[in-house]
Symmetry: C2
Subunit: 215 residues, 2 copies
């Protein structure tokens, strides 16, 4: 399958690399063509990898991952809006603001970054997922033992099903994928990051996740 990955940072590289391992063709997009990190990534991943602008990557992919930095996400998808129309846009970002003493969210509570992105590209079908774990765990959940879960939300059921299939390829079995409902649930998924950040210190690492236990 042809998949676009918006963003050249650690998350974008982890997801693009995993997609190549899974025999997908991947175009990594950046704000301007000729991005050095994208070129270096593509040089190591053979003919199934390519690079371009955000619009190029969105045009290339039947499915597109948004892995841009939270602060730049709305601008990134807006620059590729025509190319994202009708496509599944899997949003893995978090609206983190590290400018203060403690990390906060620059959007939240009665809105979310995923909803902001959906409003910017109303013809795309945004699915929020993968934002609640470290990038290594995103693409290899077996790094964490047990039946820990991945949340998905979105307004389009077909898009969520597509995202769930890709999650399964990454190693998340469907029974560990929890559908939280429409895209307003992204407020909850993004707000969870505040807890994730506080858990890092007592746990002493990044590779962790939550399991749901029920009585």
């Amino acid at each position: 399958m042809r998949i676009g990955v918006l963003g050249t940072g650690t998350v974008g590289q982890a997801i693009a690399t995993r997609l190549c391992e899974l025999q997908h063709e991947v175009c990594m997009g950046s704000r301007e063509a000729g991005n050095e990190k994208a070129a270096a990534w593509a040089a190591h991943h053979g003919p199934s990898s390519s690079t371009g602008t955000f619009a190029d990557a969105a045009a290339f992919g039947a499915i597109v991952f948004n892995c841009t930095a939270g602060r730049g996400s709305v601008a990134a998808v807006t620059s590729a809006a025509p190319q994202l129309a009708g496509k599944v846009l899997i949003d893995v970002t978090n609206p983190l603001d590290h400018s203060g003493d403690t990390t906060t969210l620059f959007v939240g509570n009665d809105d979310s970054l995923a909803e902001s992105i959906q409003r910017a590209v109303p013809e795309a079908n945004v699915v929020k997922t993968l934002n609640t774990v470290n990038n290594a765990v995103m693409v290899d959940p077996s790094l964490v033992p047990g039946d820990h879960v991945m949340f998905v939300s979105g307004d389009d059921e077909g898009a969520k099903a597509t995202a769930t299939l890709l999650l399964e390829q990454f190693g998340w079995p469907p029974e560990r994928v929890v559908d939280l409902g429409d895209l307003t649930a992204a407020r909850a998924q993004e707000a969870y990051l505040l807890l994730w950040i506080k858990l890092m210190k007592p746990l002493g690492g990044f590779n962790f996740n939550v399991a749901i236990q029920q009585g």
Copy 2:
């Protein structure tokens, strides 16, 4: 031990009842003396139970639980500020605003209800805990199988140790109590409620919690 419980709702009743079962003496406090729900509760719990105003309950307890409705919590503790000085104040509330289409938090992100309470009673030692589970699970974690966890935060280490001892009496073993650090972590504990609410529907019930799994 003598313990005050501020609040006469389902959470206050669940905690006060459990404390009586554990042979503590409990005073349930309400905004005005003579509260009918408090009187009915005390009538069923024998000589170790009593009722009074918030200030009466705070004066009675060596430890005090804040189980008031989130919107009324700051006013409640303020009315008992002199009686709360020097005491451990275990805050189990959530700043939920149900007035809109989706539940939001009326304080959050760069502040929390627990911190608002701490500012209102600076001479008390506020510990945030128990707010991340249903009231039944708060006082009987065995309702949910497995090694699910309870978070604590607060600025006073001794107060957190006291709260952890009470959690152990409720059935939370210390190895499943996760200390998230100072009271700014209450922002994370309270924000988690947005996820808790979204989980209710797919899980179809209230008695659930999260376990932490780590690689």
